[in-house]
């Protein structure tokens, strides 16, 4: 057993580099962040000048990736599942335009919501855009399918989605590399009108996309990624999608099961193969990591003769990720009752770090809000969302990137005064700026606090587009200078900070308070690396 030991995410990064990648575009989001970070750290990528800087958000990333593909080169776009909501306009329409250079869109889903607001299944989006979707089960498959994804993309002139989930993204195993493929050169599309989705042209593109579907299904049937693995015990047939394959194989080996298995790793799923499979078994159990998408299409809405079990009939839970135990139960394998967690063990939820600037900001805000009472702070996605927990209990919403500003605006429109938004610096440049413009245009009374720790903290401290730009951005959007305030979030400045917030809460217009102090994690990493550079020099 040789090879690199890589996270699933890292295997995708290496797979793309070896497939002749010219640029990766992404915004950090758990569990997808390490794909781009791997390419950023790669010496080969640096030598080849592969683009790897972060984008402002997933939509700008998706569009930049499409632009690189237009110019003939291979591009990859990476995001977490909810990031695809942000990129959806560009993503869906990229199915319409098609591609020139290969374009792979990696989406990392987070079933069980380890670090997310929902557990949406990106395979829905793949179906929606009518493009091929690949779903690897192992780190090696992640590496290989990334490469195949680029080939597939160029073969059919369509973007390809690579869908992974948390357990593959953040699990390590050995990966063997294949030979390096050269990058494409710059080459314009043969048809220079391909990417113009004017209605008359778009109608033609759509017919082309529809007529390609049969070919995509044929490819899924012949690529080898969807395959039947024979088994003697036909009392059941097992259909497994993506990572679920691993759990079934683990359980089957232990319990000595020998059912026929249909392993699905490429969509659209070939209907003929499904028919062939279900005919040879008495009943079917479907294991999908995510939503019961395939199961639902198999059961349909009308009565049929097939017995199909999975998440829809209660054989498996309707929500959450799968694991070996759930697979065992679904297959009616007796399990010994496991030990219990002793009552003495208490929950240890994540918390803001000691010395974090968000704490001082929340202390100032909390005190300034005391005269008005609770229930008026709209927040956003980032470390500061932990302000929802005790002892702060400081915020009342966390919905999607940028929603703090616009929800505060809507509540203010409804008459809630004061209405406060708390948003991080990176989240603000991701999706907060446009909402602030809405408020400025209408002079809506809102107090927007940008808690600026000059990094993308929750995902591990990536560069923030907002760093050193916030004041100018807010001025440029039209925030009045006397209501564009700077706060120094340190305990010793608490009284001054409280007063700044109190003053702006009372203002009947748009206020922005920038509370700037570097993230202590980023700062300590920066200091450590400076120290080690110095010690190397001396």
């Amino acid at each position: 057993m040789t090879g690199l030991v890589l996270l699933g995410d890292e295997a995708i990064g290496q797979g793309a580099l070896d497939a002749g990648l010219s640029g990766v575009y992404a915004y950090p989001g758990t569990p997808s962040t390490e794909i781009t970070e791997y390419i950023q750290r790669s010496k080969e990528a640096l030598e080849r000048n592969v683009h790897a800087r972060w984008s402002a958000n997933e939509k700008t990333a998706m569009e930049s990736g499409l632009g690189m593909s237009y110019a003939g080169k291979r591009a990859m776009v990476c995001m977490k599942h909810v990031g695809l909501n942000v990129a959806a306009d560009a993503f869906i329409n990229s199915g319409m335009t098609g591609v020139n250079g290969g374009l792979v869109v990696v989406v990392a889903d987070d079933p069980s919501m380890h670090s997310s607001q929902n557990e949406q299944d990106s395979r829905f989006y793949g179906k929606f855009a009518m493009i091929p979707v690949l779903e690897p089960a192992t780190q090696q498959e992640a590496y290989d399918m990334t490469r195949y994804g680029f080939e597939l993309s160029e073969k059919f002139g369509l973007p390809v989605m690579l869908r992974i989930t948390t357990r593959l993204a953040h699990s390590r195993s050995a990966v063997v590399r294949s030979e390096l493929r050269k990058e494409n050169g710059v080459k314009l599309p043969t048809d220079l009108k391909q990417f113009i989705l004017l209605p008359a042209l778009a109608r033609k593109r759509y017919k082309l996309l529809l007529s390609t579907q049969d070919k995509l299904e044929m490819e899924s049937a012949t690529s080898g990624l969807n395959r039947i693995e024979e088994g003697e015990d036909t009392s059941r047939g097992i259909i497994v999608c993506g990572l679920a394959y691993n759990y079934y194989r683990e359980v089957a080996a232990e319990a000595g099961l020998n059912h026929p298995v249909l392993k699905i790793s490429q969509y659209p799923v070939p209907v003929e193969l499904l028919n062939e499979f279900v005919k040879q078994v008495e009943r079917v159990v479907v294991f999908e990591e995510g939503a019961p998408i395939l199961e639902e299409s198999l059961t349909g809405v009308l009565e049929n003769e097939y017995q199909i079990g999975g998440r829809l009939n209660g054989l498996l839970p309707r929500d959450g990720e799968l694991d070996p135990l759930l697979v065992k139960r679904a297959l009616e394998i007796a399990t010994e009752s496991a030990r219990e967690i002793p009552a003495i063990v208490k929950n240890r939820p994540p918390a803001l770090c000691k010395g974090c600037s968000h704490i001082d900001m929340y202390n100032a805000l909390g005190e300034a809000l005391e005269p008005y009472g609770p229930g008026r702070v709209f927040s956003d996605i980032g470390c500061y969302t932990l302000g929802a927990l005790p002892p702060y209990n400081a915020i009342n919403s966390c919905v999607d990137m940028g929603a703090s500003v616009t929800m505060a605006k809507g509540a203010s429109d409804a008459g809630l005064r004061p209405a406060v938004a708390v948003i991080g610096d990176s989240t603000f440049t991701h999706s907060g700026m446009t909402g602030l413009l809405d408020a400025v245009v209408e002079q809506t009374p809102v107090t927007v606090i940008i808690s600026d720790n000059s990094t993308t903290g929750m995902t591990g401290g990536q560069q923030s587009h907002a760093t050193n730009r916030l004041f100018e951005i807010c001025r440029g959007l039209g925030v009045e200078e006397e209501h564009l305030r700077l706060m120094n979030p340190l305990r010793k400045h608490h009284e001054e900070s409280r007063k700044i917030v109190a003053d702006e809460l009372a203002y009947e217009g748009v206020s922005v308070i920038i509370a700037q102090r570097e993230c202590i994690q980023t700062a300590s990493r920066r200091l450590r690396s400076q120290k080690s550079v110095k010690s190397v020099k001396s």
Partner: protein
């Protein structure tokens, strides 16, 4: 040879470093490896764990099935108990005695250790004091790795080689300190 180990601790205590050392050493020893870890939100002072599986035959699942884990190796005593449902009947709990108390309702130490001592196979190591005597409490995690090292089916040489691979860029001092911590942990386990 097959070992299923859950590494447990609190975000920032270095369990991913333990995982990385075992991972590199396992692959260098020609073994198969799967190691699932937690990133993102829970790293902020929350409970973190890693499922580590090594074997001389291919491994299917990235997660260890409930009731089949050979060892829970923890750098924090309460965290050692959090994953008991995964432990096999004859499995071991090996934990550092140093508590990390960042929550209001953290249990009384006596009661906590009493709970651990109820387990048939347990080993409590004062990794914090050992690491401090070596000069840095930061290597408590590697002391704990040392305490478990006889059980891993990986040679001491390979583990030291992995420390060299992983910490080499931080300088020879750091590598040597970690190797000392590894040896001290191994010694402590024998007492």
């Amino acid at each position: 040879m097959k070992r299923d180990i859950i590494l447990a601790g609190v975000g920032g205590q270095g369990i991913l470093s333990i995982a990385a050392v075992i991972g590199v050493a396992a692959v260098e020893s020609g073994l198969y490896l799967k190691q699932a870890e937690v990133h993102g939100m829970s790293q902020r002072g929350g409970a973190v764990q890693s499922h580590l599986r090594i074997s001389d035959t291919p491994i299917a699942s990235d997660l260890i099935p409930e009731g089949s884990c050979d060892m829970i190796l923890s750098v924090e005593p309460m965290e050692a108990l959090r994953y008991l449902p995964f432990l096999a009947n004859d499995g071991w709990v090996v934990t550092s005695s140093k508590t990390f108390e960042n929550i209001d309702d953290y249990p009384a130490e006596d009661a906590l250790f009493e709970e651990i001592r109820k387990l048939q196979n347990h080993l409590i190591i004062d990794a914090f004091s050992i690491a401090r005597e070596l000069g840095s409490q930061k290597v408590s995690n590697i002391v704990m790795l040392g305490a478990a090292s006889d059980y891993l089916g990986i040679t001491q040489e390979r583990l030291e080689g992995a420390l060299n691979t992983l910490f080499g860029r931080k300088g020879e001092d750091v590598v040597q300190l970690n190797i000392k911590a590894l040896k001290a942990g191994k010694q402590a386990q024998k007492k």
